[in-house]
């Protein structure tokens, strides 16, 4: 162990030899000593024998930086003043190096968990995957696009619709017996029918129309020989978003009850 000021002064031959050998010894031992050298230089090495630390002077020659620690017969390297191998490098939760100790990656399960890996059968809902929501959104959007592209063709095929003319839906319909106590055979979006009198009914919608500008069509059947059936709306009769009044009349323009009255509403 030796330290030197690295300044060879003007002296006689023997003293010069001793001084030079002391300087070489300081170099050979990395300026080892229990206290720092009196004279320091940028990038100078100093082995601190009190703490077993190898230190290097910084570029500004203003402080010592630990570069390694002597552990028995070996050395532990340091990075930016912290020993490597036990360092907590980044607080990033997505990757393995978030681990405080790399030995945490010792098993595949732990490694997957640390990596937030999605391909884990124990994590079918991707709850450990930080990008799961984005992945699900992407898949959902692709499915929606596929459905939107496919549905029109399927609907047209199901309805045997040919050509390119647009289709409009029936928004309510009812088939009822207008005789006796009146009864509904079947219906859609109709909550009730009101028997207002002979051949006079109001159809009430379960869910109202967007406005009263819908179109109505009707038909029926007469079985008692009174004549052909005409179904229409009476003059001034109710026609609102929630109800529509209709009348069933004979070919002689007389109101009459019929065993089958069928009306439908389009919008």
């Amino acid at each position: 162990m030796a330290q030197h000021d690295y300044n060879i002064g003007d002296q006689n031959g023997f003293d010069f030899l001793v001084d030079l050998n002391n300087a070489l010894s300081a170099i050979a031992t990395n300026n080892a000593g229990s206290s720092e050298p009196n004279t320091t230089f940028a990038h100078m090495l100093w082995f601190d024998t009190n703490n077993d630390l190898m230190k290097m002077r910084n570029q500004a020659n203003s402080a010592w930086v630990v570069v390694a620690k002597k552990d028995g017969s070996g050395w532990t390297p340091y990075r930016q003043g912290t020993a490597l191998g036990t360092a907590s490098v980044q607080p990033d939760t997505r990757y393995a190096h978030r681990s405080n100790n790399l030995s945490d990656l010792g098993s595949a399960t732990t490694a997957r968990a640390n990596l937030g890996a999605a391909e884990d059968s124990s994590d079918p809902n991707f709850t450990n995957d930080p990008n799961a929501a984005a992945r699900r959104g992407l898949v959902q959007q692709k499915l929606i696009n596929l459905i939107l592209d496919t549905i029109p063709g399927l609907v047209e095929a199901e309805l045997n619709a040919s050509g390119t003319a647009p289709m409009y839906a029936c928004r309510a319909w009812v088939n009822f017996n207008g005789e006796d106590t009146a009864s509904i055979r079947a219906s859609g979006n109709v909550s009730s029918i009101t028997d207002n009198g002979t051949g006079d009914y109001t159809v009430n919608f379960t869910t109202g129309m967007e406005d009263a500008n819908y179109a109505m069509s009707g038909s029926g059947e007469d079985t008692d020989g009174a004549g052909d059936v005409t179904i229409g709306r009476p003059n001034g009769g109710t026609k609102t978003t929630t109800a529509c009044r209709i009348k069933t009349v004979t070919s002689g323009a007389n109101v009459d009850d019929y065993p089958s009255v069928e009306v439908m509403f389009f919008r």
Partner: protein
């Protein structure tokens, strides 16, 4: 449904409402479809005459319409 909702028409006659199988109860249908402010009664279908020859002459005593009022 084997029930009907009756109320008095503006002309003094009787309106007979037949509920549809639409997922609503007859009470809900009555409250929704009976004209606002009109009292009504829910009756069995057997109580409704089947002979409609004099349908326009049917009447009802408003004092008997005690099950609710159209909303």
């Amino acid at each position: 449904m084997n029930q009907r909702i009756i109320y008095k028409t503006d002309a003094g006659g009787v309106a007979i409402m037949t509920p549809a199988d639409c997922g609503l109860t007859i009470e809900q249908i009555a409250a929704k479809d009976v004209p606002t402010g009109k009292p009504y009664k829910i009756v069995d279908v057997a109580d409704i005459p089947t002979d409609r020859q004099w349908r326009a002459e049917w009447t009802v005593d408003e004092a008997d319409l005690t099950d609710g009022v159209g909303a």
